[in-house]
C-alpha cells in the first residue's frame, strides 16, 4: 500500500478498496454516501475551488451544519492542497467573520441562512472572500446543487489532487483566546496523520466498525471522528447538533445505528446515563467508548458503566495544540468507594512528555509540574501570532515542547494525574473557554465599568460567574446582560450567574483580586 502521509489519501485509498461501501450515514436526513460517491463529490469541489483560484497553502472556510456535504467539503478542500477552517454555526456571525478574516480564507462554503450576515460582517472587516452558498431547503444534497449552479455558466475543468508536504497545513482550529479574540491553532497533515496512526494502533478499527461523529468539526475530537473510519474503510454516522443534545433520541440512535466506537465529551455521556433510558436498547455493537475534553465525574462514569458494561472505556486527554497526548483505559470495575477522577494516563506512543517546574526544569515523579509535549502531533503554532507561538513552547534538551498549561503529577504507577490549570482557561462541557474572552465580551457593554469572571467547579460541573461593577446610572438587568452576551459570545460562554458590586476587589498592584472573588463565593 502507498504510504499515507496526508489526510485526504485515506479517502482515495478507501474509494479504491471499497467503492460501494457506505462511508457516511446521516440519520438527520436518512441519507448515506458510498466511498466512490464521496470521492467523486469531493473531486467536484476540488475542481471548483481550483477554478476559483484556490491553491496549495491557501485557506478555505467551512460554515456549514454537520452533514455529508461538510465531510465532502473537508476532503475537497484538502485535495487542492489548501487548509480547511471550520467555524461553529452556532456561534455569533461576527465571531465567525473575525475568524475567517483573520486567516484570510480565499473561499468559504456557507449555508444560505448565514450567507448575507456573513457577507455583511466580512465587508466591514475588509475583503469579502468568494462564497459558495449551500441551500438545504432545496434538498438534502446542496453541495452538488451549488456546484452545478456554478458549473452551468462557468464549467470547472478537472484538476489534479494535490499531495502536499506532510508539514503543510491541513486545518486551522480556532479556540478561545485570553485577549478576547479566538486564536487559530495551525495543524499540519503530519500532526493529523501521526495522531490517526496512533488511534489505529490502540483502537484497532475494523472495516465493519461504525463510528460516531458527535463533536462539531471545529473541535479537535472531529479529527478522530472523520479520519479514523475513512482510513479503515469503515462507516461514519453523523450526529447532528440537535439530536446530539437529546438523550432519549440519542440513546435510540446509538443502538439503532449499531455504533461500535463512540467518542464525545463526558457531559453528554453523563446525560445519556441519567436520562437516556439506556436499559431499553441493545448496545451489543458498542465496543469502545472514548471521552475527552473535561474530567468525567466518577459517579457518572460508574453509572454509565453499569448500563453499558461491555465496551472498553478510554479517557483521552490533550489540548487542541497536540490533540490527544495522554490516554488511560478505565479498569473494568470501578470500586464503590472511589470518588477521585481517573488519571489522564500515559503519553501516547507517537509523542514524548516532560513535567517541568516554573523555572522550566524537570521535576521528579510525584511532584507537581506543567505537562509539556513534543513530537509529530504538536501544532505548528498560532495563526499570525508569532509572539504567542514563541511563548507557547519550551526549549529543552534540544527540542521544542508545547506547554499545555495543565498542572499534573506523575503517580507511582506512571500515570499522570490532572491537578489543575496554570492559567485562566477552563473546560465546560468539553468547550475550552478563556475566562478573559468572556470578560472582553462583557466590557463591550456600555454600562459595564469592571468585569471579572471566575469558574466554579462543583459536582454538577463548571459554572461561570461574572462579577461586575457598573458606570453611573441603573445597572443592566440580568436578562439584558444574558442576551448581550449571547449576541457577542458562543452560548457556552454566557455566564451562569451575575453578581453586581460597587467595586471589584484589587491586589496591591491594582489588578483584579481573583483570589478574593473566589473567597466571596
Amino acid at each position: 500500500m502507498i504510504a499515507q502521509t496526508v489526510l485526504h489519501q485515506y479517502l482515495g485509498t478507501s474509494a479504491m478498496r471499497r467503492p460501494e461501501h457506505t462511508a457516511i450515514e446521516d440519520p438527520a436526513t436518512d441519507g448515506s454516501i458510498t466511498y466512490a460517491e464521496l470521492d467523486a463529490l469531493s473531486n467536484r469541489l476540488r475542481d471548483r475551488l481550483w477554478r476559483w483560484g484556490v491553491r496549495p497553502g491557501d485557506r478555505v472556510g467551512i460554515y456549514l451544519r454537520k452533514s455529508i456535504d461538510s465531510v465532502a467539503s473537508v476532503f475537497g478542500i484538502l485535495k487542492t492542497g489548501a487548509a480547511y477552517v471550520p467555524v461553529d454555526p452556532g456561534a455569533p456571525v461576527s465571531r465567525n467573520a473575525y475568524i475567517l478574516n483573520n486567516c484570510s480564507v480565499k473561499v468559504t462554503l456557507v449555508e444560505d441562512r448565514f450567507a448575507n450576515g456573513l457577507a455583511k460582517e466580512l465587508a466591514q472587516l475588509g475583503d469579502v472572500p468568494r462564497l459558495l452558498v449551500l441551500d438545504w431547503s432545496a434538498g438534502d444534497r446542496p453541495l452538488a446543487s451549488a456546484l452545478q449552479r456554478e458549473d452551468d455558466p462557468d464549467p470547472a475543468p478537472p484538476s489534479e489532487t494535490v499531495i502536499p508536504s506532510p508539514d503543510d497545513l491541513g486545518y486551522i482550529l480556532y479556540t478561545s483566546g485570553s485577549t478576547g479574540k479566538p486564536k487559530g491553532v495551525m495543524l499540519s497533515h503530519r500532526n493529523g496523520v501521526s495522531y490517526v496512526d496512533w488511534c489505529s494502533e490502540v483502537f484497532q478499527p475494523r472495516e465493519s466498525d461504525r463510528f460516531s461523529s458527535h463533536a462539531p468539526f471545529h473541535f479537535d475530537l472531529s479529527i478522530l471522528d472523520i479520519y479514523l473510519p475513512i482510513k479503515h474503510s469503515a462507516t461514519l454516522v453523523l450526529i447532528g447538533e440537535e439530536i446530539g443534545k437529546q438523550p432519549q433520541q440519542l440513546a435510540a440512535l446509538i443502538a439503532e445505528r449499531r455504533i461500535s466506537l463512540w467518542y464525545s465529551a463526558p457531559s453528554i455521556l453523563s446525560v445519556l446515563a441519567e436520562y437516556g433510558d439506556l436499559a431499553k436498547h441493545d448496545y451489543s455493537a458498542l465496543r469502545i467508548v472514548n471521552f475527552a475534553g473535561e474530567v468525567f465525574p466518577v459517579k457518572h462514569l460508574r453509572r454509565l458503566k453499569s448500563l453499558w458494561p461491555h465496551p472498553r472505556y478510554f479517557n483521552l486527554y490533550g489540548p487542541t495544540e497536540t490533540n490527544v497526548c495522554t490516554f488511560f483505559e478505565i479498569p473494568p470495575a470501578i470500586p464503590d468507594e472511589r470518588t477521585e477522577p481517573y488519571p489522564i494516563g500515559q503519553t501516547c506512543a507517537h509523542l514524548q512528555s516532560v513535567v517541568v517546574d516554573e523555572q522550566g526544569q524537570m521535576v521528579t515523579a510525584g511532584l507537581e509540574g506543567e505537562l509539556c509535549i513534543s513530537g509529530p502531533g504538536v501544532m505548528q503554532g498560532y495563526w499570525s501570532l508569532p509572539e504567542r507561538t514563541a511563548t507557547a513552547f519550551l526549549a529543552y534538551g534540544g527540542r521544542n515542547w508545547y506547554k499545555t498549561g495543565d498542572i499534573v503529577v506523575e503517580g507511582a504507577d506512571g500515570n499522570f494525574i490532572f491537578v489543575g490549570r496554570r492559567d485562566r482557561m477552563v473546560k465546560k462541557r468539553g468547550y475550552r473557554i478563556e475566562l478573559g474572552e468572556i470578560e472582553s465580551g462583557l466590557y463591550k457593554h456600555p454600562a459595564i465599568k469592571e468585569a471579572a469572571v471566575i469558574a466554579i467547579q462543583n459536582e454538577g460541573g463548571v459554572r461561570i460567574k461574572a462579577f461586575l461593577s457598573c458606570k453611573e446610572g441603573r445597572p443592566p438587568s440580568i436578562i439584558e446582560l444574558k442576551r448581550f452576551c449571547a449576541e457577542n459570545l458562543p452560548i457556552y460562554m454566557v455566564p451562569d450567574v451575575f453578581s453586581f458590586q460597587d467595586w471589584l476587589p484589587k491586589t496591591s498592584t491594582d489588578k483584579i483580586n481573583y483570589q478574593r472573588l473566589k473567597e466571596m463565593e
Binding site: K245, Q246, I478, I479, K482, R483, A486, I491
Partner: protein
C-alpha cells in the same frame, strides 16, 4: 424550595397558571438574582442566552415531571421552549 404545582381535582390548569409556574422555575434555576418583573411572557429564553442546551433539557424534565406530560424530542427546542408563553401553550395542549 421546589416549585410545586397544584392540580386541583380534575380541573385543568389555565395557561396563565402554567406560565407563572414556569416563570418561577426559570427565575430560580436560570436567572438567580434577577428581579421577577424582568422576565416577561416574550423574553427569549434560548435565543436570549438564558437557557443553554442542558438548561433546555432540565426545563423539559421539569415540565414532564410537574405537569405529568410527555414531550417529544423535537419539542425540546427553541421552536417550543423559547418563551414562557410558548412553553405554557405547549404544556396546556398536552394536559
Amino acid at each position: 424550595m421546589t416549585t410545586a404545582i397544584i392540580i386541583q381535582g380534575e380541573e385543568k390548569m389555565t395557561i396563565k397558571e402554567i406560565e407563572q409556574a414556569v416563570a418561577q422555575y426559570i427565575l430560580k434555576e436560570c436567572l438567580p438574582g434577577a428581579r421577577p418583573e424582568e422576565l416577561t411572557s416574550a423574553t427569549p429564553l434560548i435565543t436570549g442566552g438564558i437557557i443553554d442546551s442542558l438548561g433546555a433539557l432540565n426545563l423539559a424534565l421539569f415540565l414532564e415531571d410537574q405537569f405529568k406530560i410527555e414531550l417529544q424530542g423535537h419539542e425540546v427546542s427553541k421552536d417550543y421552549l423559547n418563551t414562557t408563553a410558548s412553553i405554557a401553550n405547549l404544556v396546556h395542549s398536552k394536559l
